[in-house]
Amino acid sequence: MSAVMNSPVPLGPRIGLLGPRAWGGVLAIVVTVAVLVPLLNLAVPADSALHLSDYYVSLFGKIMCYAICALAMDLIWGYTGILSLGHGLFFALGGYGMGMYLMRQIGRDGNYKSDLPDFMVFLDWKALPWHWSLSDSFLGQLFLVLAVPGLLAFVFGFFAFRSRIKGVYFSIITQAMTYAAMLLFFRNETGFGGNNGFTDFKRILGIPIATAGMRVTLFVITGLMLVGFYLMARAIVRSKYGRVLQAIRDAESRVMFTGYDPIAYKLSIWTLSAVMCAVAGALYVPQVGIINPSEMSPAAGIEIAIWTAVGGRASLIGPIVGAFFVNGAKSWFTQVFPEFWLYFLGALFIAVTLFLPQGIVGLFRARREKRS
């Protein structure tokens, strides 16, 4: 690095994707997620001090889904400067896409012993509605998990960015869209299980879902997806494309008068970010066993932004740290002082905004800079 800095012609950031130490860190995380956790959970006996309980496996699995959302939010907010409060919607759509498949996997084991999901029997429906036509196929639903949020984000983004809707107006519109979708999903006749949503899943790909093996498998897949998304985000941020995104954040008019079409850049990162959230949602649902419209509530979207801000915007590790920190604190707080969690969250957000504008990661960064 220093050699690059001192070279007579500055070469700019043209070193590899990660430094050797960072690659070591990535490797350590992959080993932890893919080897250590499964071993500690499955192979170590439950009475041993080293045993990792099922509770923690599912908690961390869940938080890793949140971390993917925070990473997606960071790309669009931290790097491009567009605050979306609609990422809860993309997360939930991904979750619903997976949920539809899981509902069909219940088969005749539901309360009503019918081929149709229970809530449809309850509504006295005789056949599957049209939008469930792919729900028998895992790959079909996976396609929808990516395509529906991706297409929605693309169409919404196209009109919003073309109309040059920016800043707080964009945030409000994304929030309104999420809220409208929530109201739609709350209704029984839209065919998404109303306010109960989907739950009582039995199996995935024919394999029982509530077993220790499946829990760890989903954990490992989520962890590897998180690492994969991190590396992808890193590649994006370090490309010239990533620098154009930051330029849009800092001075969009200059970007335009330099000849770049900001719409294409914003639209592509916005759609990618939405799809990342959808993948997180699809991984989340089989792990927590439920999806309902509350995932689209305005609070859910705001929380994603809070994780990102607390961890540190415009750094890729920040939002992941933030998701773990806030959700770790949440799971502890809601056990110890259940009534005070929201107060704590509010106080945390204010404190971070006032004292740590660069988030938790910024704290370490400042200290490292001071030392050097």
Partner: protein
């Protein structure tokens, strides 16, 4: 296929392409005896910019009132005028930020700028410096220049773009030219006001525009920096057309060197045009500047 058949096909295709191209330019090359390339301005008449009869009103207030102006290829033109004379609005119209109510703006004789969006106008070769220095504060000086460097502006090209040796040389030369070589790895937000102005000028140069619009480029610069900027602009004269909007008469004097035309704008139209010394003694101009 036999080789001779391939050859005949290639010939036929070339003839066809030629006809297509002629058709795309409206067949005009027949009368003018030259081919127009799409997206390339046509400077055959020696005029880089035609601003014709432009009117812009904001809520009844006429910011530009039938403004007509021509800038020659390679010309350095200074535009002066009191506050509110419409100087910045004129730049907004040329660069596509503001749509006029009436009139036309052409880049060369072939490109109608009013049909293009801001980024397309930049791509055909018009660069603009804002009144307030506008750089990417969180990026380094080097990265600021890199983004401005003339290259494919599309998303996919940016994803896989890498700088080659020639581009690096150009950037190094520009860094030298704008006196920011030692600051290349500094974050642009940490530069002084004058340095930011220079960085923005450097970014314009990286774009390699045919026409540069410079809105108060020396505001906030020290005398020495101002002088160096004048030298820089004078060195660009001839290769690029420059339009400089400025209040600093000393700077304008340096740029015009007592022989170039100055345009005075007032209430959205041209009040006077001529040498700086003539214009400064023009009664109407004095009246406008000093008030009645």
């Amino acid at each position: 296929m036999t080789p001779d058949l391939q050859e005949a096909l290639a010939e036929a295709k070339a003839a066809h392409d030629e006809r297509e191209r002629a058709a795309a330019s409206g067949g005009r090359e027949a009368s003018f005896g030259r081919l127009l390339k799409i997206g390339e301005p046509d400077f055959a008449h020696g005029i880089a910019l035609y601003v014709d009869d432009i009117t812009v009103s904001f809520d009844g207030f006429k910011a530009l009132n039938a403004l007509t102006l021509q800038i020659a290829v390679g010309e350095l033109r200074c535009i002066i005028g009191p506050n509110g004379a419409g100087k910045t609005t004129m730049m907004d119209v040329i660069t596509g930020k503001t749509r006029p109510d009436a009139g036309t703006v052409h880049f060369g004789s072939s490109i109608d700028l009013l049909r293009l969006r801001e980024n397309e106008i930049a791509q055909v070769g018009i660069g603009r410096k804002f009144q307030k220095p506008t750089v990417y504060e969180e990026l380094t000086v080097f990265e600021n220049l890199e983004l401005a460097l003339k290259a494919d502006r599309r998303v996919r090209a940016s994803l896989f773009s890498r700088l080659d040796g020639e581009q690096l040389d150009r950037m190094a030369a520009t860094l030298q030219q704008i006196h920011l070589k030692d600051e290349a790895q500094r974050t642009a937000g940490l530069l002084s006001h004058g340095q930011k102005q220079w960085l923005e000028i450097g970014m314009l140069l990286m774009q390699d525009p045919k026409l540069l619009l410079l809105d108060e480029p020396v505001a906030g610069m020290t005398d020495e920096e101002t002088e160096r900027t004048a030298e820089l602009f004078l060195s660009l004269e001839g290769q690029h057309s420059l339009v400089v909007v400025e209040h600093d008469m000393k700077f304008v004097d340096q740029l015009t060197q007592g022989r170039k035309k100055v345009t005075v704008l007032h209430e959205g139209s041209v009040l006077a045009e001529g040498l700086l010394s003539d214009v400064q003694n023009n009664e109407k101009v004095v009246e406008v500047y000093l008030g009645r």
